[in-house]
Structures are given as C-alpha cells and as structure tokens.
C-alpha cells in the first residue's frame, strides 16, 4: 500500500513535467498545424542552457531557469522565421520533413557542442528527502512540480484570458479575418512557435537537474510529449495537461510492478493503443485533424 502511494506520488510529480512538455507541442500542432518533431530538441536546449548558465556564468539556479526559457523561445522564433515562414502554404507533410531535418541537425549540433558524456546539474536543493507519513520525496521534485504547474496554469491563462491569446486563437481559426481585425499575422505565428519552444525549454530546464543531461535526451522527451498529446487529443490543451499526469502515473506503475526495462515502452504503447482505439484522444469532445 505504501509502495503504491509512493508510485502514485512519483507519477504525479513526473506527470506534471510531461504535461508541460505536452502543452507546448499540442499548442503548436493545434494552432499552427505544424507537427514539431524538433520539440524534444528545445527541451534538450533548455537543459543544456541551465547547465551552461550555472557552470559558465555561475549564476543562481533560479536565474538560470528563466534564462534557459528565453534561449529556447528565441531559437524557436528564429526557426519559425527562417524555416516555417517560407513554407506557410506548403503541405503539412513537407513541413513535417523539414522539422525532422531540424530535429536531426539540432541533436547532432548538441552532440558536437557538448560531447556524448552525460552531465549532471547541481541545484541549491537538499538531497535529503522530505518524509510525509509513509512516502518521501526530494525537495527538488516538489519545486519542479510546483513550477511546472504554475507554467501550465500561466499558459492557459495567457491563451484564454489575454488579448495576445485571443489574437493567437483568432489567427489560426481564420487568418484573413484576423488580419482584417488588425492582428499582425506574421508576428503571431512567430510568437506561437516561440511560445511552444519556450515551454519545451522550460521543461528541459526543470527536468535536466532531476535526470542527467545527454545530447539525445530530447528523443525520449519528444516521445513523452507525443504520447501526452495523443492521449489528450491533438490541439487539446486541457487534455494534454491531464494526459501528462496519466502518462506519469502509468510509467511509474509500469516500472514498479512490471519491469523497469520497459518503462519507456509505456509511452509507445499508449500512442499505439489510443491511436487505434480512440484516435481523438481520451478527453476529446471534438478536435481538429491535421
């Protein structure tokens, strides 16, 4: 029983970061109709940016995280301007192949820049776990959970409540009408992609210190993000947030009770099962199909 509680707690903590990964991806897909296969690379970028800021510039951990997000968002904006803008009217498949190219290029650039040896990031948090009744949890994991949740809520509020969020939703619903209403279409495209990339970088900045940093870490992150997005239904924000928790808990239970070797298979199995049985996602009412 205690073991089960511990698994559930770990799953919840892990799941929140998966949600954070997922909402960035689902946003870019749902709004821009771009399948961002490079999503995991922005996650890697965020993690390495924290590492660089801590080691290279020796800033505080709490400054390094916003810095990493800024780097991710800036590179996202650049990618949108250079790669996506010229292809705006191309088919979704061409754009998908371009994003695959970006994925490969970014990952190997990281490999060249940082080398293949895994790195670890030190944090100001104590490694002594906090014991709550029958379960224990490290302070860092609590911090990561709280910040992830804050980002998710913040992103939701930005999309649902602000003028910028409304402009984003309007642009991708009907480009011409939005332009007629005075929305700067080009700017919104750039901002949306940068937003998605920034969220991925945030997830990387937060999870990097929990795990180890290595250049291909983004592949697993992409996998989790896609599982989450498919669970929640493509373009479904709330679905992705919930989907992250489901994936986190499912992985913890799978690793705890089945086999830890197959932990990462949980995401694949979820993708296959959901695509086959309920392609619109578990929490979908109606969704866009790309």
């Amino acid at each position: 029983m205690e073991q089960l509680l511990q698994h559930l707690l770990n799953g919840l903590l892990l799941g929140a970061t998966y949600s954070l990964l997922g909402i960035g991806l689902t946003l870019v897909f749902g709004l821009m109709n771009v399948v961002n296969f490079a999503h995991g690379e922005f996650y890697t970028l965020g993690a390495y940016a924290v590492f660089a800021a801590l080691v290279g510039a020796s800033v505080s951990f709490f400054v390094a995280i916003p810095l990493a997000i800024a780097v991710g968002a800036a590179l996202g904006a650049l990618c949108e301007r250079v790669l996506l803008r010229p292809l705006r009217d191309e088919s979704i498949d061409t754009v998908m192949l371009v994003m695959i190219g970006l994925w490969i290029a970014m990952q190997n650039a990281e490999l060249l820049g940082w080398g293949g040896v895994a790195k670890s990031v030190g944090t100001p948090f104590s490694t002594q776990p906090v014991v709550l009744g029958h379960v224990s949890v490290s302070p860092l994991r609590i911090f990561v959970f709280v910040v992830s949740a804050a980002f998710i809520v913040g992103a939701h509020l930005l999309l649902a409540r602000t003028k910028l969020g409304r402009a984003m939703r309007a642009t991708f619903q009907d480009r011409e009408t939005a332009a007629l209403m005075g929305v700067s279409i080009e700017r919104i495209h750039t901002i949306t992609f940068a937003f998605g990339a920034g969220l991925a970088a945030a997830a990387g900045a937060l999870l990097g210190p929990v795990f180890l940093l290595y250049p291909s870490m983004g592949d697993l992150a992409s996998l989790k993000a896609f599982s989450v997005v498919i669970l929640g239904g493509l373009g479904n924000f709330a679905g992705a947030a919930l989907g992250g928790i489901v994936l986190g808990v499912a992985e913890e239970l799978g690793a705890g009770y089945v086999s830890s070797g197959y932990r990462d298979a949980v995401g694949f199995v979820i993708i296959v099962a959901v695509l086959l049985l309920r392609p619109s996602g578990l929490f979908a009412r109606a969704e866009r199909v790309g």
Binding site: D93, L97, A105, N108, G261, F268, I271, P279, G290
Partner: protein, 314 residues
C-alpha cells in the same frame, strides 16, 4: 543512347569487384547496395502512397534478427534465414498496415515510430531470445550450393557484392513491375486524391496494406543481407539513424521515382565515406539534417526528377 547508357552502367556495376581493389571501397559499394534496397522499400510507402514510415528500421532490424536467430540458434540454412527475413517483417508490415488503416499523415508517422520503439526495447530486454545488448555473434556466411559442384561460400566481399547487386536489380525490377501494374496505378491514385480514388471503386485499405507488406518485406530482406554481411546482429540495427538515412536517400534522390532512391542510396553511402577522413560521424548527421532541409527548400522533388527536367529542357 539511353539503352547504351544503361548497358554501360550495368557493365560497370557487374565488373566492379574486378577493378575495385581496395576492400574498403568494395565494402562501401556493398553498403550502398543494401541501402538501395532499403530506400526502394521506403519509397514504396513514402513515394507511392504518400505515407511516411519513421519505423522502417524496425522492419530492417526484424529481418536481421530473423535470419540471425534461425541461423545461429537453430543452425538453419542462410537461404531459409533470408526467406524468413523477408516473410517475418512482411507479416509485421501487414499488422502495422491493418492497424494504421484509418491513420494518415502525422498519425501514421507516430504509429510507426512507436512500433519501432517497442520492438527496439524488446530486442534489448528479451535477453533469452536476443542476448540483449550483447547481440548475436557468428551469423554464418551465405553459401551457394549448386548440385554437382562444391558449395561456394559467399564469404568474400567480391562474392557478396554480386549477391547484393542481384538483390538490388531484382528489387528494382520488382518495383518497376509493381508500379506499372494495376496496383501501382491504384497507389498513385490514392496518393493524389484518396476520396476520388475510393469513389471510383479502388479499395484504399487493401492497397495501402499491400504496399506496407511489400515495403516491410523488402526492408527485412535488406536487414537479412546486412546480417549475413556483417555476421553480427545487435539492437543497433534498430537505431533511428538507419531510418533517418533511408528517409534522406528517398527524399533527396527523388521520392515517387525508381531511380531516385537508388541514386540517393549511392550518394549518401559514398559521400559520408568520402568525408570520413575530414569529419566525424556527428558532423555527418548534422549535415544530413541540414541537407534534408535544404533539399526540401530548393529541390523539393529530389535530385533525379530535377536533373531529368533540366536535361529535357536545355
């Protein structure tokens, strides 16, 4: 003129082991041949049905393991192994094709990635069957036994080159016949406009599954050839970089053509080997990524169709 060129090309290919003295260069040619089979196989799906499989390394790997396990653990003949290396992935392709019936575009891509991911994890974790990360050493060489003559082992690079060349030619001719048949026309019709094609009575499901089965079988055969060439099978055959390489060969060479993937396979096997002295493997993969983007931007139809168009219109 065209016939002359084709004859010359065939003569050059057929005599290569006689004048390519450097075993390393011959090795590069063999790998180019194996990748040509893989690229032709991926092209059937990506080029003719328009569906991108990012799990093709799985079919390649299943093929390699099928023949590896049969010949190492059961000591069966490599020929039966190669047959199984085609049949088993084809079966997997049928399953994937059936499952992916209603999925198109990004959903199909994700399903194939996930399939490859699961298979790759199984190959690492199912120690009893696959030896896990240690792999299967000692895959036997292919032997050619003609009745009445002593068995001829295709152990040497020169001999193996001919086996690979024969497979490439056979694959090419098979694809050519397929594309020119009713099936090929149905596939192209489905790619261009699925709704219209289905409305005139083309059974979309049937043809897409068929394309997946054939494509997977060919990729598996490529895996089988690879296993008997390197004489070793490990979970590395499932590496995503194999899939990436196939995609680049097809897209850069010219998807939806039959010469394109072969040209792509030769370019992208010879080029990295030529650059090996200058750059590391990471640089090559970085270059691959950039090249894929560049081709899509500047030569979206691929090298072969672009050059052909230029020749016709001087």
């Amino acid at each position: 003129m065209r016939r002359l060129g084709l004859g010359a090309l065939l003569a050059v290919c057929a005599t290569a082991p006689l004048w390519v003295w450097n075993p390393y260069h011959l090795h590069t040619l063999i790998m180019a041949g194996i990748f040509a089979v893989l690229a032709l196989s991926l092209n059937l799906l990506l080029g003719y049905t328009g569906q991108l499989s990012l799990g093709h390394a799985a079919f390649f790997g299943i093929g390699a393991y099928a023949t590896g396990l049969l010949t190492v653990k059961l000591e069966w003949s490599p020929w039966i192994g190669l047959l199984a290396a085609t049949a088993l992935p084809a079966l997997a392709g049928w399953v994937i094709g059936r499952l992916a019936l209603k999925l198109r575009g990004a959903y199909f891509v994700l399903l194939t990635i996930s399939f490859a991911g699961v298979i790759s994890l199984v190959s690492v974790n199912w120690m009893d069957l696959t030896n896990g990360p240690l792999g299967l050493p000692g895959v036997p060489p292919v032997e050619l036994a003609v009745p009445g003559l002593p068995a001829l082992s295709l152990r040497t690079k020169g001999a193996y080159y001919y086996l690979v060349l024969a497979t490439v030619v056979a694959s090419y001719l098979f694809c050519l016949a397929l594309i020119r048949s009713r099936i090929g026309r149905a596939l192209v019709a489905l790619r261009e406009n699925e709704t219209l094609a289905v409305s005139v009575g083309i059974d979309g499901t049937h043809y897409l599954v068929l394309a997946a089965v054939i494509s997977a079988g060919m990729a598996g055969l490529g895996g089988g050839l690879y296993a008997h060439y390197t004489r070793f099978v490990s979970p590395e055959v499932f590496l995503f970089s194999y899939t990436v390489t196939m995609v680049i060969m097809v897209v850069a060479g010219g998807k939806g053509t039959l010469t394109g993937p072969i040209v792509g396979a030769v370019i992208f096997t010879v080029l990295p080997e030529a650059l090996r002295e200058l750059t590391s493997w990471q640089w090559q993969m970085l270059l691959y990524g950039i090249l894929l983007i560049a081709v899509l931007f500047f030569m979206p139809r691929g090298i072969v169709p672009t050059l052909e168009a230029r020749w016709r219109r001087p």
